[in-house]
Subunit: 448 residues, 2 copies
């Protein structure tokens, strides 16, 4: 295999130390998801293209189709497969396929890769990892889940060095009711235009709204609504002050007020009501979330989702759900890729067992086995080189301890902390490294 | 999304309880790999088709090509991407791409999905998980690693309910040297025919060998060699008794004898020398492994690999390696899919906190937070239903404990083991479930 080796744009790979930092994130996310009672589901990587492309006009362009290189001609008629571009569409299919075997309300987490054939750019990859939680129920879904998901995410980010962040929450019913109360018929069209506010600014949005059939006054009111945000329930009063009335608006306001109040009690400072948040995807019907890092809001949302009432339906039964997804690859593209977050060493190994000579390799292996049986990651030196070379081998990899079989004057084993140079007698059946050295830890660029 | 939901042949998905059993396997494999000093690497899912298809004529047919559904016409000329069909080829590419940033000898594990477009059948999937370890060095690779990998696998399987198994080990140099000593020129051709022994039997193999230019006597000798196996070094004498001599044969015998001796010392009963093992892939150059389950050897190898001396080369430098791969999906297709191995419950949750009435949901949430902060997976009941219904909710999911806020006569919390019915006062800041109930455990069909 001597052909040229080239990276493929949009397909990120980490070096071993970076991968250990990534694993720390993935392990923590999984741990918190499980503590909050979510069960793991992994779905196959492929869905029928038909199912994938039913999700909106934009999705279509980004789908990666998958076909056997040597598919015979008669297979061309088969339904084409595509790689999934998120976890929500496959999960909705999984729920329908297994509805009779699942217990509802069903809480699942799903940490997997997804693929989108969009143009690679900062924070956007063609292959990426997402970590999703969703709660679906059969028939009715209690509203308190929409606040609960915020608390799970707050618990995850409390354990990871992500820096300051804010979860922006809205409820689509507020926009819908407000627009209807203003006498606007094209709710979805209006929502899509207002969604461009961050990109094109209020002036352009107003122009587009008027071009779409709104009066100047209606457009002004839509923009006034989108400008409202608050970390508490005060947004309700500000919406009321705009003087628009509609039962759907009342419903949305009460709902968002309750979500924000629950978040403020259990995870203060994490969430704000932000009435400009819309989310592009058509299937959201209630609460929607987007999460921005305070130090770089323009980087894009690192955790998004919302409530969907009719994504999973088999025609007879409907399974409403609410979900939120951490964009792990996007988040780590910034933290590891740009900011230099890393791990304390490139290997899980805490102890290198030296080899005195090749004839005594078996003895070094027995020591390693004894340490491993107590959960200490241990490596036996590859060659019976001079001890200086063996210590160098450990040092290059960041392995903190080297074990010398029978090195004591009385023939006992000795262990050396190669950072301090301190060496002392050690018993293979009881010695343990300090807790902080047992596994690699995260190293932030600012605290390094 | 009301379109028809159909499984896709060869793409396995588990229900939540089965997935917990799979996670137990994946976690254990990872833990042991790390204890033995392997660092995690994940490679992107795609490689250039050119690289993938350079691995032999069979590989070609099985590759899944990947292309953007809406790729513009001018993109058709780009090199086509394909999903990787194993971890070895992507890892060899990763080593070449990052050689300057890796520390050699480099030990990595890689637990990922792979895809092969072959006909789905028992134990063979189109999407499957493999768990690989490899050790590569720059220039020279010490031989003791070939024995070490066996010990890692033995350590993995000692912690999992896989049943009795045997790792069959051979060294390609034995076959090569033996064939050359017999005066056979076409070593690879002969090896490929002998590799069919299990499928077509000795009679047919002899016929094919003769058709390929061997004398009857040469064919008889090749079969005699393939029939030799032993759990110790006695195979050497039996090969010698066949009267064939060649320096490469001597080298291979000495090498295999040493691997078997090391395995017998550190993991007795696990490995046997079996001179019929050849492995289909061309890139193996020394030791080769295959692992059979005693209760169903015909199911195929669940753990295979070998030494490759020139898979990773950039023309200037060569990185010889040795690797072994657990076929996780194949193994679990038997254990979970056919034999009924499962988990003790369908959720990580150990405790359900009851809700007295919707107004006190916040109090139940605070209790859950206190339990989670001490590592106990906890769920708050979805509705303030009658306690009987809330207990039923836990029972249906296999959740062992239900927590009743303020249920004691003195207003203290109470916790009930719903299996025994025993209920007692409990402090949210100190109570813990028995270790065996903290997480779901594996349940074997035979011990159930």
């Amino acid at each position: 295999m001597a052909s040229k080796v080239t990276p493929i744009s949009g397909f990120q790979e980490w070096l071993p130390t970076e991968r250990i930092a990534e694993q720390y994130f993935l392990d923590t996310i999984r741990e918190v998801f499980e503590l909050h009672g979510f069960a793991s589901v992994n779905t196959r990587s492929v869905e029928s293209v038909e199912r994938l492309s039913s999700q909106g006009e934009d999705a279509d362009k980004e789908i990666y189709a998958v076909r056997r290189l040597a598919a015979p001609a008669d297979e061309q008629a088969e339904p084409t497969l595509g790689l999934h571009f998120d976890m929500t569409v496959p999960f909705a299919r999984y729920v329908l396929e297994n509805a009779g075997k699942l217990t509802f309300p069903f809480r699942r987490y799903q940490i997997q890769q997804a693929w989108r054939g969009e143009r690679p750019q900062r924070g956007r990859y063609r292959e990426f990892i997402q970590a999703d939680i969703d709660i679906v129920d059969a028939g009715e879904l209690p509203a308190h889940y929409e606040a609960e998901l915020l608390l799970v995410i707050a618990d995850v980010f409390a354990r990871l060095p992500v820096g300051d962040y804010t979860i922006h929450v809205n409820n689509r019913k507020i926009c819908e009711g407000f627009y209807l109360g203003l006498g606007i018929d094209d709710v979805i069209g209006t929502l899509r235009i207002v969604d461009k506010l961050d990109k094109i600014g209020p002036q352009k949005v107003a122009e587009l709204l008027v071009a779409n059939g709104l009066t100047d006054e209606q457009a002004k009111q839509c923009l006034a609504l989108a400008e409202i945000n608050s970390p508490d329930g005060s947004f309700v009063e500000r919406v009321r002050a705009l003087g628009v009335e509609h039962p759907t608006l009342d419903e949305g306001l009460a709902h968002l007020e309750s979500v924000i109040a629950t978040a403020a009690e259990h995870a203060p400072g994490v969430a704000i009501a932000d009435l400009r948040i819309a989310r592009g995807l058509d299937y959201y019907t209630g609460t929607v979330y987007e999460t921005m890092l305070e130090r770089d809001p323009g980087y894009g949302s690192i955790c998004s989702g919302g409530r969907y009432d009719s994504l999973a339906t088999d025609g007879k039964r409907t399974y409403p759900g609410v979900g939120i997804s951490i964009g792990v690859s996007r988040l780590l593209g910034l933290l590891i890729g740009e900011e230099g977050l890393t791990a304390s060493r490139e290997t899980p190994v805490a102890v290198l067992v030296a080899v005195n000579d090749e004839d005594s390799r078996a003895e070094s292996t027995r020591i390693a086995t004894a340490l491993r049986s107590r959960g200490i990651a241990t490596l036996v030196a590859p060659k019976a080189a001079k001890f200086g070379k063996q210590i160098q081998f450990a040092d290059r990899r960041g392995i903190p301890f080297v074990w010398f079989p029978g090195a004591g004057e009385d023939g006992s084993d000795q262990v050396k902390d190669i950072r301090s140079g301190q060496q002392s007698a050690a018993d293979r059946s009881s010695w343990t490294p300090p807790q902080a050295d047992l596994r690699p830890s995260l190293v932030s660029p600012t605290t390094d």
